[in-house]
């Protein structure tokens, strides 16, 4: 199969199937309902499971149950729906099960709007639900990257036995772009016999498996949470991904931006270059773990006077950038948080104010 033109949401759906994930539970919500519509047709073709649950809360536990039974499983939703799923995600983190959640973000708080947004950055990168915990969060900037990240998400979730989120803004779900699908992946976590409730007979073992997030003994709960912490430390060592753009130039301003917004920033940087202004960009591909060192080095480069976070949210990423920059230069914010995507001209204007 060569390149095909697909809408982001449908490409995400197909990518999951090619990642060997034949189990999908979901609840409709704009702007990602096309994933469920696509899979309601496609799952029967591949002998997979499609189920529309009664609520996002219920769906998050269908995911938990299926993941705990050792199946490769995923769901998709959008911001308000992800809030409802956050309860289940916390349990999945605590019980150390692999699962994939896709959030095609819309504006908030509350019902907000249905246009593109990046306003769930803090929610996604700070663990979503109650308790100590994190998701590994991948942030695509194109439909092709969304496909690749969905396919990477399953092995990553299984490597860490931790939920992985693909965090895309509404545009990623709604726009059409040419995509190419990588090869199919295998279908189930390879170590599932060690922990999943597949039934003792299937493992030919008399050792039962128990999946739980309840540890009434404070020593045990502490140990479980420290085990989670070790996984997040390992993610910080092994999974940080980012892209640099125009960072070989002698820039005075460094932009940090991700997702669709980063593409607008690249255009703005090219236009600024033509006008004789050099601007660099660091684009996080993982927002948790955040590319701290890359941002730190890029901001500390000689001549860099300011860092600008460009986001479709009210500056939620600024904390992570400031933490990374560690005071070497001031961190500013530019963005819109109502559903409009800032134009290259608007980004240029924001950059010039720092020069």
């Amino acid at each position: 199969m060569g390149k095909v033109l697909m809408k982001g949401n449908e490409a995400i759906a197909e990518a999951a199937i090619r990642a060997g994930c034949l189990n999908y539970f979901a609840y409709p919500i704009t702007p990602q309902s096309e994933v469920a519509e696509y899979l309601s047709r496609r799952m029967p073709e591949v002998g997979g499971v499609f189920l529309q649950g009664e609520s996002e809360v219920a769906v998050s536990y269908m995911i938990f149950g299926a993941a705990a039974a050792g199946a490769r499983v995923f769901t998709t939703s959008s911001s308000p729906g992800i809030s409802l799923m956050s309860e289940g995600v916390s349990y999945i983190i605590g019980a150390q099960c692999p699962a994939v959640f896709v959030n095609i973000m819309r504006g908030g708080p509350g019902l907000g709007g249905i246009l593109p947004s990046q306003a769930d950055y803090n929610q996604a990168t700070r663990g979503i639900g109650h308790g100590d915990g994190h998701l590994l969060v991948l942030a695509p900037a194109s439909v092709q990257e969304a496909v690749e990240m969905v396919m990477q998400a399953f092995p990553l979730a299984e490597k860490y036995r931790n939920p992985v989120m693909v965090l895309g803004d509404g545009l990623i779900g709604q726009m059409m772009e040419p995509v190419e699908f990588p090869d199919h992946l295998k279908t189930e976590p390879s170590d599932k016999d060690d922990w999943a409730t597949t039934g003792m007979d299937t493992r030919k073992s008399d050792k039962r498996n128990l999946v739980r997030s309840l540890f009434l003994d404070p020593v045990q709960l502490n140990e479980n949470n420290l085990a989670l912490k070790r996984k997040y430390e390992q993610m910080k060592k092994e999974e940080v991904r980012f892209e640099q753009y125009n960072t070989d130039s002698d820039y005075k301003v460094l932009i940090v931006s991700y997702g669709t917004m980063s593409r607008v920033c690249k255009t703005a940087i090219d236009m600024l270059g033509e006008q004789g202004f050099a601007v660099g960009l660091v684009r996080p591909l993982t927002v948790f773990p955040f590319p701290e060192e890359a941002v730190n080095k890029a901001a500390a480069k000689k001549g860099c006077e300011a860092v600008l976070s460009v986001e479709m949210s009210m500056g939620q990423m600024v904390d992570d950038i400031e933490r990374s920059v560690r005071g070497s230069c001031p961190v500013h914010w530019y963005g819109k948080c109502g559903g409009e995507v800032p134009t290259p001209e608007e980004v240029i204007e924001a950059v010039k104010q720092l020069m």
Partner: protein, 247 residues
């Protein structure tokens, strides 16, 4: 000498944390006996609720998952859909199933999910310390209805078996009790029927078990049995409310 009575293989050799006079122990045993008799221990997954039975997984000897409050039917749905060969049951109390988990149980039953629910109705929240449940009887004093359940404010107790039996989707819905030996045999028959329907891939099955909570009712175990029989059983009648054959 022949051994006539022993612990079911599916039941762990483990003292429980349940209070004296509580019926969870009897119900656990009935479930374990049924699982042994049907020979399904190696393909069964239980789901523990939030509530007094939150630690139920300690008392059984097969695969188990621990749910969030009320969400066990959604987890059972997830397991059963991806692994239809497994025998899956949820074990839930009345706060868990009839209050916070009402949405999950109604939709699972209405989809005809092929798992089994053991629903323990003792008319009160046990684990959190005796608060009012949707199944609390009119006038019943609890820690959050200190003057007795006021049905003007809180409505009448919810009859889960009747409510689920009203769904058009075929299912097996029964209400039993284990408060006296004479009821226990019938309760076990119903539990076995419920698991058998699942084994035959027929339908959703739920057995509501009217139970006692002497600790939170503020009664002795003997008084609790009398109260359940006099107060609960007239409101919560026993029997099969629906079978897939008479849908």
């Amino acid at each position: 000498m022949a051994k006539l009575f022993s612990r079911p293989e599916a039941l762990a050799d483990q003292p429980t944390h349940y209070c004296p006079g509580c019926t969870h122990g009897v119900i656990h045993r009935l479930v374990a006996e049924v699982i042994d008799e049907l020979g399904i221990r190696g393909r069964t997954v239980g789901i523990a609720p939030v509530g007094c039975a939150v630690l139920a997984y300690n008392y059984f000897t097969f695969d188990f998952q621990e749910a969030a409050h009320g969400r066990a039917p959604a987890m059972a749905t997830g397991i059963k859909r991806v692994r239809p060969d497994l025998i899956v049951f949820t074990y839930q109390g009345d706060g868990d199933l009839a209050s916070i988990g009402m949405g999950e149980i109604v939709h699972a039953a209405n989809r005809g999910e092929k798992f089994t629910t053991i629903f323990v109705n003792n008319a009160i929240y046990g684990m959190t310390g005796g608060q009012m449940a949707p199944t609390t009887m009119p006038g019943q004093r609890t820690t959050t209805s200190p003057f007795g359940r006021n049905t003007e404010e809180s409505g009448m107790p919810i009859r889960i078996a009747e409510l689920l039996a009203s769904l058009a989707t075929p299912g097996y819905i029964s209400r039993q009790t284990v408060i006296k030996p004479k009821y226990i045999k019938k309760a076990k028959q119903a539990i076995k029927k419920a698991f058998t329907y699942q084994l035959e891939d027929k339908c959703f099955s739920l057995v509501e078990v009217v139970s006692t909570c002497p600790t939170n009712w503020g009664l002795t175990p003997v008084e609790a049995v009398k109260w359940a029989e006099d107060t609960m059983l007239p409101y919560y009648p026993l029997g099969d409310f629906k079978t897939p054959e008479n849908n």
